[in-house]
């Protein structure tokens, strides 16, 4: 308990929150401008790379993960790892249209006619905006 109080006194000098906020805004502007170059790699980098940087900055400086005990960070990281695990386990089934020994005829581009049901309209490809 005493440590908690001591912990606190060390950080009595507040970081310059406004400066961090300003950096975040600059990053936001970059992430909006990035796609205007219309280069896919740049778009992805400016969109998701910057999102990660922004999240890191908010977590570190605003949520004060930098002064929290390490295991709080590990806890958050573990949750993210579980999500990656989930993604890795599910993506082979949900993301692919042609798996090992199965196809999704309604969504697949390669094998349109396989499902012998002429009454089915392929929605996935058309996007379905006509509904």
């Amino acid at each position: 308990m005493a440590e908690a109080a001591a912990h606190h006194d060390e950080h009595h000098e507040h970081p310059n929150y406004v400066r961090i906020w300003a950096i975040l805004l600059v990053l936001l502007i970059i992430s909006v401008l990035g796609p205007m170059l219309e280069i896919r790699v740049v778009t992805l980098l400016t969109a998701f790379g910057i999102a990660v940087v922004k999240a890191y900055m908010v977590a570190k400086n605003f949520m004060h993960l930098n002064i929290e005990p390490r295991y709080v960070v590990y806890l958050m990281a573990t949750m993210l790892v579980f999500m990656l695990l989930f993604f890795a386990g599910v993506a082979p089934d949900v993301m692919r249209f042609e798996g090992d020994n199965w196809v999704k005829p309604m969504q697949s581009t390669a094998a349109p006619g396989t499902l012998g049901h002429p009454d089915f309209v392929p929605h996935g490809e058309a996007g379905g905006e006509h509904h």
């Binding site: 020994n101 199965w102 196809v103 999704k104 005829p105 309604m106 012998g116």
Partner: protein, 233 residues
Amino acid sequence: MIETWVEAVSTYARDVDNLILLIGVLVGFWFILCEAVFFGFIIKFRHRPGQKAQYVTGEEKSQKRWISIPHLLVLVCDVFIIVGAVQVWYTIKQNLPEAEQTVRVVGQQWAWTFVHPGKDGKLDTADDIALVDELHVQANTTYHYLLESRDVLHNFSVPVFRLKQDAVPGRTITGWFNAQKTGQWDVQCAEICGIGHGIMGARIFVESPDEHAAFIASHSQAAPVAVATASGR
């Protein structure tokens, strides 16, 4: 083990049975050993007046050996089981041998439609034979099945083949079987599919080449009618 209750009809049925036997022997050994030691301890170390229990922390290496060695042996058994399971799975589900015939299996609430290729031996032609709740296959022939569902999940299960596969709407799943004996057996729906799940059984007829040819000949005329009843839900 399983054959006592359910005949082994497909080529890979024995593989499944042997795998089950292997697992049965390995886990049976551990199970009997554990229960024997467990009940032995209960009897041996019953409370007797004036006798104090021993003080064993279990934290020392010499004591931990009593659990770490069995635990390594369990790991070894696991490896055997994994190897067996992977092989059987690969044979049944992953590796598709070249098809001699193909049938389409369509599940819907609450009936199976089996589309047999007609005389030309090809699916999706005019002479296809579509039957409700009856699947006719020829013995000693490698079949591919194309499994589909029209509404909810179903499961194409043929216990004598040791075959089960979910039918997922929106997917066409390919699998295979090769029946070794003639006769007729149950086909089950092994995935709950609504109120009529309990009545969604079908029969599979494994026929000799002559019988199968006769079946195709006899249904060649009736086919269009059968298609009509199958697709009208």
